[in-house]
Amino acid sequence: MDLVSLGQIVISGLANGALYAFIGLGFSLISRSTGIINFAQGDFAMLGAVLTGSLVAADIPLILAVPVAVLICGLVAGGLHVLAIQRAERANMAQLIIMTIGFSILIQGAVTWGWGSDSITVPTFTGSAPLNLFGVTILPQQLWLVGMLVLVTVFMWFFFHRTVLGFALRAGASNPLGAAFVGINHKRLGAYSFVAGGLLGGLGGAVWVPIAFAQVDIGIALGLKGFTAAALGGFGTTFGPIAGGLIFGLVESLAAGLISSAYTEAIAYGLLLVVLIVRPQGLLGKVNRGAADDHQEEVLSAGLMPTRLGRNDLIRFGVAVVVLLALSVILTASWKTTALFAGITAIVVIGMVLLTGFAGQISLGQGTFMMVGAYASGYLTLKQGWPPIAALAFGMVFAALLALIIGRFIFRLRGYYLAMASLSLLMVFQTLARELQSITGGPNGLPGIAPFNIFGLQFFTDDEVYYVILFATLLCLIAALSITRSRVGRALLAIRSDELAARACGASVVWLKIGAFVFAAACASLAGSLYVHYLGIANPLPFGFKSSIEHIVALTLGGFLALYGSYFGAAVIVALPSIITAVFGDADTQSGAGLKLLLFGLLLVVVIIMQSNGSARRVSDRIRSWVSSGFRPRPVET
């Protein structure tokens, strides 16, 4: 490779890196002042790009369009903090992080609904004649990107080290309570940091969009890359994300130029995974050694959770069995298909109740483990002639081992590293599934997988498959019940309440979290296997990031600690598209998809607010008393 091409690769890497740095700066800023990993960070950049595009399309001059678009991004971000995060006052960190996932979906849905999915075109700021430097061509817009980044860096340094508000932000980040005593309002600081995050993201997006082929669904990818920038550089540092972003841009560009563009994503996210495993505090970050973590997180108590199997469990389980069996008789054919997919989703969500509800860890990549199951079943039954049950078991064991290895590294440090690690793992596996064609069949997948059979029993029709999935769901439910109503479940709840006290009782936090993750992975793999046996084809598409969002929404709707709620949440998620179609019609699929995302996002945000301020409890209590009183209307309270 000659120097000129290498120079070309470096230039485009640095330009992209500058965008990642913008987004990463927002990540670390918000995380430092509020502790929240804001998943909507990439969507602010997307919003900035889209708004600039539509303002320009409305004949507004560029010099006005960019600032207005950036400003709107800041306002949207601040608005989300004031209207949603501040309302969920007693929410714990996991809930708040999931809420920002809701923001991300909300923005994406709103933009898709309103703007459609056309790519966004914006003219470059100062012409498009490339500059030539020793044979390497540089686009003026690339200089704009890097130049803006330098400007912002200088401004931020000045802001943080030379202004009162900057000091206040830093003080509030290091000790909220202490800062409150000297009159710094933590809530307001949170809102400011969100506004800053919105401005940074929006600016990056607006400056970047003229040289990009940007579509509205770019937000997730941008968010991930910005997060990688922040994680590489170190979340706790102000300027680490800049270094992280530039390094990440370079690696990505070099991977594409020197190895293969097909593996760009896998290499880039593989790098993130390695950093999270080897140096979770980031390249520039410091880890606070000394005392074992004495941090007590305020947990919104779910009241007393039983930790021993009781008669109530028997009754409830019986009711669940009866209801699900009754459904198999009542449901019409099309609704039965819905119920079937709901069952498959419920299996994944049951695992997540243990992982997220009990062990407090967020996974955004259960699709990875579903894929493991899907391809294990597909490949081993089709190409190796294994019996389906053996292939299914193999997939579960493989998924469990994968979770064990990942968990062993990720859970060493407290925090929400799993969220990003699982997401990057998903990206790596999606690429592998597309590229390892000899095993996975590439994007076309593995068609022709036979329906599930065991001991010579075939399960062909929806009716028959329903019973298989029903059986599997109930089995997972029993397993999860058995775990939560045991000393292990008790230890997990103890850790939730007070980690240090639980450790002082001998509970091994790391291994308990690993156990929950392994269980969740095995459940997801089982679901993946059942899924491909039903559809007859294994391909990467159904297990992408969108499925992760559906799992998170289902988990939140059902309740983080509610095993039976899993099925309910899953049913709502699976049925929602049909309901949307029934209500709004199927005319325009694009805006329909946008509407679906919009509703998902709203649901997430509203449900978490309701859960965290207790109104969800009041509603469910009311329904329960209404049901137990034989559906009589509630007497008016006096």
Binding site: A302, L304, T307, I483, R487, R490, L500, A502
Partner: protein, 265 residues
Amino acid sequence: MTSAHNSEGVVNAPVLQVENLSVRFGGLRAVDSVSFSVMPAEIVGLIGPNGAGKTTTFNCISGVIVPTEGEILIHGRTVTPFTPERACAMGVLRTFQNVRLFGELSLRENIMMGAYSAGTCGMVTAMLRLPKHRRLERLAAERAELWMERLGLTEYADAVATTLPLGLQRVAEVARAMAANPQIVLLDEPGAGLNKVEKEKLSDMLRSIAAETNCALLVVDHDMGLVMGLVERLVVLDFGRLIAQGLPNDVAQDPAVIVAYLGTA
């Protein structure tokens, strides 16, 4: 190293030995080569003015802080690595200054958590309800009943632990620690927030526990009234160094201790 005689006059091996323990935070020597030991069933007070290094020493023994130098031995075996789990596995249990019961568990389940270290059993064993899990659960339930009965908590067994009055919560923490069948329990300011009557009851309770179970107690407290009435021996720290140890009355008259507490004239 000190060696004490128990009531029968037989020389015993110490349950806890702290040897040349040092902790430095940057340039600050929070604890500076401190050595002392505790015998089985002995009640020892660890005292000293503010900043003397009591809490740091206490945190080292319970595995919360990794010491810069020195060793901690339980029945002659070194505690490594310094983690709370490891300390617990070796029979070192603790209570907390600001009581830390589990808010999502009932009182009974809190005390059952104390017996968690009685054996290891993984998630699969628990899921399949194998005999080992059954045995550990029965053991935990028995110990919880025993200690609730013994410390008068039975009537609150099903209450949410964190809603009980502070006095009861302190007793419950002791019960949780005792359910582990510990070798030694570290009590972090057990009298804080209690009134005089409650403190006396707590003292009596702790004395009878030490006598009946052969479990040693190491008490850190500012409250000299409680400490002098409760402990058999005192270890006094000042500026991270051990300045005196011995019987409470002797220590109280030690000039170095008086200087440490009152300052030089």
